[in-house]
Amino acid sequence: MVTSSSTTAAPPPKASTHPDPSSDGSGWAGPPAGRRGALLIAGALALATVIGLVVLITTGVTETPDAVPALLSFIAPEVSPASVVVRIVLVVASSLAAGLGLARGVMGPGANSATAALRGAAVVAGAAVVVAGVLGDAGWPAVAGHVLLVVGVAALPRRTASAAAVLLAATVALEVAVVRWGPAAVVELLVTVVLTVALGAAAVAAVRSDDAVAARRATVLGAAASLVGAGVGVAVLAIDGAAPVDLLRSVRGIVALALVALPLVAAALLAPSLRTSPTADDDTVTRRARQWHELARWSAGALVVALGGVALLGALPGAPQGPQGGRALLRPVTLGTEREAVLVAPTAGGRTLVRLSDGSDPDPAHASSGMDMGGMDMGGMGGMSTPPPPDLSRYTVSAGGTPVLFGTRAGAPGRWAVVDVPAGSDELTLTGPQGSATVPVATGSSAADGATLAGPDGPECADAQFGDLLGGGSGVACPSSALSPADARTVTAAVSDLHSRGLRSLYLVGDDSARSRAAVAAVRDTAARVGLAISDAPHPEDGLLVLSGWESAHATLTDVTAAATRAPTFAGGQFLAPWLLTPGVLSAGSSTMFPLSFTPQDATPRGYAALLTTITGDAAPSYAGYLAWAHAHGLPDGPNRLYAAAAIDVMPGMPGMSGGDRAGAWFPGGGIVPLSGPLS
């Protein structure tokens, strides 16, 4: 907080005739001329900015990440509230110290009246930096450097201190910007430097001074820098990318708006003191001076809040994705104390599929995949307990009409609901036991078929849209709407290969989707061509080929796995269509095989699976999602190979002991290995 040295009425400021008491004796004395002062300020700004930018660029901070805004809205620094408070205090106090140091340096001894404020800010800044070190939020060499600069600004002679102030301003700006990336890092660095200068000037203007010239210069400088700051704030707002609908409904939006509004307010508060009135009497001058000091204090206060906002911005997750008609929408929502991810697939109006995450911790380090012990207490073993499943009857979604309950879908993680979104609706309301939240939606045409989304293949379609969204694509159709030529080639090549491996007969399981019907027909054609029998009824020695969607496949594999424990069942193997590659389906089988055009353990597919862990703990990769993401990135399909998958534990017989693999694996708790070379 900025404080003045006195709140009593002061005589009108007059031009100072005293020598500079803090002159460093280098021969330079007195305030710089107006143009010279402006040049010095501009130079200091440029120097601080250049220093900061050089560091940002050389450390790669300005590189734009390969992550869409929808994903970035889920990630924020994992810090305690104490760390955030310390960051805000540190940034504000250090900026004030740097700003005052700069102002003193370029305005001459007339600004010396702000020395007390400068020292107060320096003490607070130094303490905050040390606390940051104690909290483990900063390396001690950097703490020492920051403290040295703060001390330098506060204790060195004015001119030398101004050099330290430039470095301190650059350091603070770096500390603000380094947690950001790309253009956001640059504009946040700029706004910090500019607001630092504005705050320093406003603080000088806010304290009583005998030097009217210096006070006026400070006022002019503060107003000008505030206006520039507001301009850079507009850039911050634009780059931040918050949808208009979110500007006033999210902390981030409000903070970003404040970065524009507060500097404008600060400039406006300083503006009255720029007017001159040659006819005013002494009382009027004295009264106005008092008012101007008061306004300058409010101006400085506005800038302090703005700088606090800049510091806070880096601790907040990215702006949520705004609705775009016809496209999938992925946003974080907070239902009371629950932080969830919601996927609206898509925001097109009409029948709309909504997925709500299951409340798993998005930080895999905190996740647990153990199971209940069925009354067997396993003591303090990590990963061996699971929180009770959420009461689904208490989660609903509505578009203004009757709330629709969420439910589970076999083979698909998360909670699902299909809700009718009438034309003109602009938001969905999600309700849970802890609270409710709204999600903005829009209407528009979508590549995804609404009927499919509402049916059993909805989760797979939603995942395709999800992958497409994460990949920056322009929308995809539901995969089950048709058998793609690539999938047709994959399935038929696999059938030929199975025959060449000695498999004598296959039993097919399909469903009513267009893709499944086409796949069954293609498999029958291929089997007839190569001489592989297709059984009308299952036989123990048959191979099983599942060509249905996720839900039916999950049920089939669950039944077959149970039956196989009692007697040989489908001894020829359990084969799956490639689109059934998703943990929810694989985990229902004992050992399954499937053809794929990519290797799940390769870096790119594995990276995609890992990417999902930044959104929710229950996010699971799928064939549909990955291919949509890969195709949006322009990645080509690879050769088809057969793969085998099984859950591997090596300590069977102890349910719930599994430490488990965390989310982000293609088959958590299992292994997927190639079974063949490229299929011809």
Partner: protein, 620 residues
């Protein structure tokens, strides 16, 4: 006079140059705060050197060395400083997914928080690696990681076992439990590591889940593949045999043989053509020919033309009922002896079910003495034909005096109940002690055994669990008696006193004594000793061993990921080598839970097994 005035006068006395210097110093400190943590990190100045080979699938596979600059010269110089050639501990370790990493993100600038984008970057798994650690006793670099040889592109292999002992010229065979891959490393130029070959699951179609390896005198190696054929159904082995399996990670497993360069010579069925006990040999899904053939441990007596494998468990995890324990009969009770008269075509000679012991009961069959026969070890001296085995859940040690017999007679010879109080004073029984590594001394006088300890609750809700450690037993009498031995634990009294002629306690060294189930799973004897000629030679009197505190994280039996060194004193007493310290913490044992490795800031790693190795030029 105010303090400010004093400061001002002090500062006024400074010349302009001094003031500028002050500013520059501050700037330097700031820059240092940013740069030094990076510059001092383990990977600074390390130039990765990658060696790539083609796999059988046409893809590139590689090992990438990250030798700490000057490590070769340094370790050599340091070894020479103590009058030795360098000796290394080679540890096969898996990256613990970032998801599991407990190491906090390094923060540098005050108030800068952790960079959120790092969350995205860190989610990707890191590479698995072979860590090369300075193990030259007395060297100033003792315990330092001098190289991490990472493998790629496959990640999440779950590095598991290598061979039990390394000999001059040996390839190091290292398995990936979950990737079904065997890596063949060239360690002749340690600390640099080369990749000689890689065996992919498409090459070993009749088995999966590779476990352990045994190297023969000619440099070839046998390996156990614990899990079933990659595809279910009939599988044809190299010799033309056919067995039906229930698929990847199921049953039956196999034994493979690789030539010294890693080329696959043979796949041999571990299952017999006749059905094994359908009650004890549960297979999921059920097989028409039930089998317990899931070989884990493997040791060989080439002179006796006999190989022994121990069956551990069907490694697949099929959850039929999340609240009901699967049958304990998925954990095997069997030992197999093999005829290796034709070394390239081993044939199963006997399948023996270990007897239940006096503790066994229907109430808790999972902890019967014979449950989960994980490891086996053979005697070594020409006059001895015996072999030992142990049970992971049973907490018992079994022995047969003659593995060449057509029908070997295995009997329980020791119950860990007899010494469990030395590991954990509050413990009272050996059941469920999670034993692992089992190794006879070269002179057949001592049996070493690593024990993780029991998790709390394993025997019921009142079970407090036990700590673990490494133990050694005097087996000289038992082995010396040959087939005339009368040792057999059959009565409750023998649980604590097995009787004359049976193994007896030699030394017990608790490791992580305050932590339940925190002991070692694996170990290795230092089979190399410095000769008068200054070169290393094979020794029959190892004076130290190393242990590793890690099993398989996925099972919930994880460990603290430390690799320790233990001295073996006169009389066989084992003591922790406190000079073998972690270079970061300064505490005894090398901690694989660390933020930075020579290959990068990949965080915690899981060390499963280790070998004592030297460069080929340093051993004779």
């Amino acid at each position: 006079m105010s303090g400010g005035g004093r400061h001002r006068r002090l500062l006024d006395r400074l010349s302009l140059r001094a003031k500028v210097a002050t500013i520059v110093a501050a700037l330097a400190v700031i820059a240092g705060g940013i740069v030094i943590p990076t510059a001092l990190s383990a990977q600074a100045d390390i130039v990765p050197q990658r060696q790539t080979i083609k796999g059988s699938d046409g893809k590139d596979y590689w090992v990438e060395n990250h030798v700490v600059p000057g490590a070769v010269e340094e370790s050599t110089a340091q070894a020479q400083g103590v009058g030795k050639r360098p000796e290394y501990l080679v540890v096969w370790a898996g990256d613990e997914n970032a998801a599991d990493t407990a190491v906090p993100q390094v923060k540098k600038l005050p108030g800068s928080l952790a960079k959120p984008l790092d969350t995205v970057r860190n989610a990707a798994p890191g590479p698995d690696f072979l860590a090369v650690i300075d193990a030259t006793k007395g060297s100033p670099g003792y315990g330092k990681v001098v190289n991490t040889a990472t493998v790629g592109p496959l990640v999440e292999n779950e590095p598991h076992h290598m061979q039990y002992e390394w000999h001059k010229g040996n390839t190091v065979f290292a398995g990936g439990l979950f990737s079904a891959v065997t890596y063949m490393f060239d360690v002749s130029k340690l600390p640099n590591v080369g990749l000689k070959g890689i065996s992919l699951p498409t090459q070993t179609k009749c088995g999966s889940v590779p476990d352990a390896y045994w190297t023969n005198k000619d440099g070839s190696a046998y390996g156990t593949y614990m899990g079933g054929p990659v595809a279910p159904g009939p599988c044809r082995y190299t010799g033309g045999e056919v067995r039906s399996g229930n698929g990847f990670a199921g049953s039956p497993g196999e034994v493979v043989k690789f030539d010294p360069n890693g080329k696959l010579i043979n796949e041999a069925p571990a299952a017999t053509t006749t059905p094994e006990d359908p009650k004890q040999c549960l297979d999921l899904p059920a097989l028409s020919t039930p089998t317990c053939a899931n070989p884990h441990g493997i040791q060989v007596r080439e002179d006796l033309k006999t190989m022994v494998t121990s069956d551990y468990a069907e490694p697949r995890d099929i959850i039929l009922d999340p609240v009901k324990a699967p049958s304990p009969n998925l954990r095997r009770t069997t030992l197999r002896t093999w005829d290796i008269s034709d070394p390239d075509h081993p044939k199963v000679k006997s399948v023996k079910y270990m007897p239940t012991g006096p503790r066994s009961s229907a109430a808790d069959p999972l902890h019967n003495e014979n449950r989960a026969m994980m490891e086996t070890t053979v005697t070594n001296q020409p006059g001895h034909k015996g072999a030992f085995t142990m049970s992971m859940q049973g907490g018992a040690i079994y022995y047969t005096p003659d593995i060449t017999a057509k029908d070997p007679q295995w009997r329980e010879v020791y119950d860990l109940t007899a010494l469990v109080k030395k590991l954990d004073p509050k413990a009272d029984q050996g059941a469920g002690l999670n034993g692992g590594w089992l190794q006879t001394s070269p002179d057949d006088t001592t049996l070493y055994h690593a024990v993780m300890g029991r998790q709390p609750g394993a025997l019921g809700k009142d079970d407090k669990g036990t700590a673990g450690g490494v133990i050694s037993l005097d087996i000289s009498k038992l082995v010396g008696d040959g087939t005339a031995t009368t040792c057999s634990v059959t009565t409750p009294a023998q649980e604590t006193n097995p009787g004359p002629g049976c193994p007896s306690e030699k030394s017990v060294l608790p490791i992580n004594g305050d932590e339940k189930a925190g002991g070692p799973h694996w170990g290795a004897l230092d089979n190399l000793a410095l000769g008068q000629d200054g070169f290393y030679h094979q020794t029959t009197q190892p004076d130290r061993l190393s242990t590793a505190n890690y099993f398989v994280a996925r099972t919930g039996l994880d460990g603290d990921h430390r690799v320790c060194m233990e001295d073996i004193g006169k009389g066989g007493k084992m003591t922790l080598d406190t000079a073998f310290k972690d270079e970061n913490t300064g505490q005894p044992c090398v901690d694989f839970n660390r933020a930075d490795w020579p290959h990068g800031p990949f965080g915690n790693a899981k060390p499963h097994s280790q070998l004592f190795v030297t460069a080929d030029g340093d051993v004779k």
